[in-house]
């Protein structure tokens, strides 16, 4: 699924180099759905943060408890930046559903997504 060069790149970004982590890396990068990582030792967190430097530049590392989740998501959604939601507990805010399910409507060249409040 990946060549050694990519794996080497991931390792540089902080992904541990054991087989399991590499498999996980493949799943994160190749999966069509968004990844939800079970990560008690924060290894995935470290990796993703290194991998997506825009997360820190745009300050888009958030939790579900931010005061206005919709506003926090709007900017990256419209401008194409990555978002990292930390410390998910057992439930995920249903507001995220349209994003997770990628309910995108296409009008002409532009794409739209509808978020509930």
């Amino acid at each position: 699924m990946v060549d050694p060069a990519t794996i080497g790149e991931w390792n540089m970004e902080g992904l541990p180099s054991d087989d399991l982590s590499i498999q996980n890396g493949i799943m994160v990068t190749r999966s069509s759905r968004y990844p939800l990582m079970i990560d008690p030792q924060s290894q995935a967190l470290t990796w993703i943060k290194q991998r997506e430097p825009e997360l820190l530049e745009q300050n888009t590392v958030i939790t579900l408890n931010v005061p206005d989740l919709k506003r926090a998501l709007q900017f990256p959604l419209e401008n194409g930046y990555p978002v990292l939601i930390e410390s998910i507990e057992n439930e995920v805010d249903p507001m995220l559903d349209p994003i997770l399910e990628k309910q995108i409507t296409r009008r002409g060249k532009k794409c739209f997504i509808k978020l509930a409040d």
Binding site: A44, L77, L84
Partner: protein
């Protein structure tokens, strides 16, 4: 609102064992990044090598890069070749230019192939050198999981992987250097074990300290292949899983008898086939002797009737078998026997009182 194609979403959870709803599982890819013992071992090995033998790790990365670029060149040659053949016009044999190209591609790909073979051999060599350090990584992983399991006793005992890696680095940096790799490995391993013990021990309640040490000792033996989980199970459960009302000795308590039965049926490790198979019979024959041993003030320090020599002869797990016997017959002396066992497996330092 607008949607930009480049948008990406990541989610992480800190819970070790979360319960996500099936709906959520359908909507997102759930990936488990929890470290496993094998995975941690590999990580620790990489960490160790990069500190201990930097050149080796560098060589390996360099080699990997070379292999990748070589494989890529090989692929492009093959593509070129196919393209030439596909686009050739007229008889192939008349096209001298094409034949020349074919010849160069052939020699070049031969060169690349040779390089690849060379790289493969070198890789095996480097891996062999790396393997020499594996015992340290293995021990590290075992210790980390001991620490993690302590959380089951008390939530307060949570220790992060970061903390542990700190200890690991400390052991590498400060343990005595040695000429031979074997000695060096031994040095790091013992430093690491001691360091982790002292560090964790400091944070434990008095009553849990022996649990931690016993866990360390048994897990290390399991990792070495000397014990199995079943053996540890016997030590913990003894005879509580069986039922037998026909206790032949009046002086013995029911519980002791059940423990004795369990012992006699247990197969230690894999090679030890029922170490105590004849135990009930022996006790029957030497009833007075056994009764005396069981009623002893310090049975753990008194020679075991019938079995003393056999236990002493077992270099690998004689101490563990002895511990099981004491636990079965004299539960109240288990902790003291456990201390002896820990002392034999890990060393004096692990049972002597510490003041920090």
């Amino acid at each position: 609102m607008d949607w930009d194609e480049r948008f990406r979403l990541y989610m992480t959870s800190r819970l070790a064992n979360p319960h996500f709803s099936p709906e959520l599982a359908a909507k997102a890819t759930i990936i488990d990044f929890t470290v496993t013992q094998g995975g941690l071992e590999q990580q620790l090995l990489g960490r160790l090598i990069s500190k201990e033998q930097k050149s080796l790790e560098d060589q390996l990365t360099q080699l990997q890069e070379e292999v990748t670029s070589n494989t890529k060149t090989l692929q492009s040659y093959e593509e070129q070749l196919l393209e030439r053949l596909a686009n050739a016009q007229g008889s192939l044999l008349d096209d001298t230019e094409l034949i020349d190209v074919l010849a160069t591609i052939k020699t070049k790909s031969k060169e690349v192939n040779e390089k690849l073979v060379e790289a493969k051999e070198k890789k095996i060599e480097i891996n062999d050198k790396r393997e020499l350090f594996r015992p340290v990584a293995a021990r590290g992983a075992v210790l980390y999981f001991c620490i993690v399991e302590m959380t089951l006793i008390n939530w307060m005992y949570n220790t992060s992987l970061q903390q542990f890696l700190g200890l690991f680095d400390y052991a590498i940096d400060f343990s005595p250097k040695a000429q031979l790799v074997k000695d060096r490995v031994h040095n790091i391993t013992s430093w690491l074990t001691r360091r982790v013990y002292r560090y964790i021990n400091r944070g434990l309640f008095e009553k849990d300290k022996i649990t931690f040490k016993l866990m360390m000792a048994t897990k290390i033996l399991i990792k070495d292949g000397k014990l199995t989980n079943g053996d540890v199970g016997l030590l913990l459960k003894a005879g509580s899983g069986i039922d037998d009302r026909n206790k032949p000795f009046n002086w013995m308590q029911q519980k002791q008898w059940l423990n004795l039965k369990a012992l006699s049926k247990h197969k230690f490790n894999t090679e030890h086939t029922m170490f105590f198979k004849e135990l009930p019979e022996r006790v029957n024959r030497n009833e007075q002797l056994w009764k005396k041993w069981i009623d002893e003030n310090e049975p753990e320090n008194t020679p075991v009737p019938d079995y003393e020599e056999k236990i002493a002869a077992d270099q690998n797990i004689g101490h563990f078998i002895h511990l099981c016997l004491v636990r079965a017959m004299r539960e109240d002396r288990t902790l003291l026997a456990a201390s002896q066992f820990i002392k034999e497996v890990l060393g004096d330092e692990f049972v002597s009182p510490v003041t920090d």
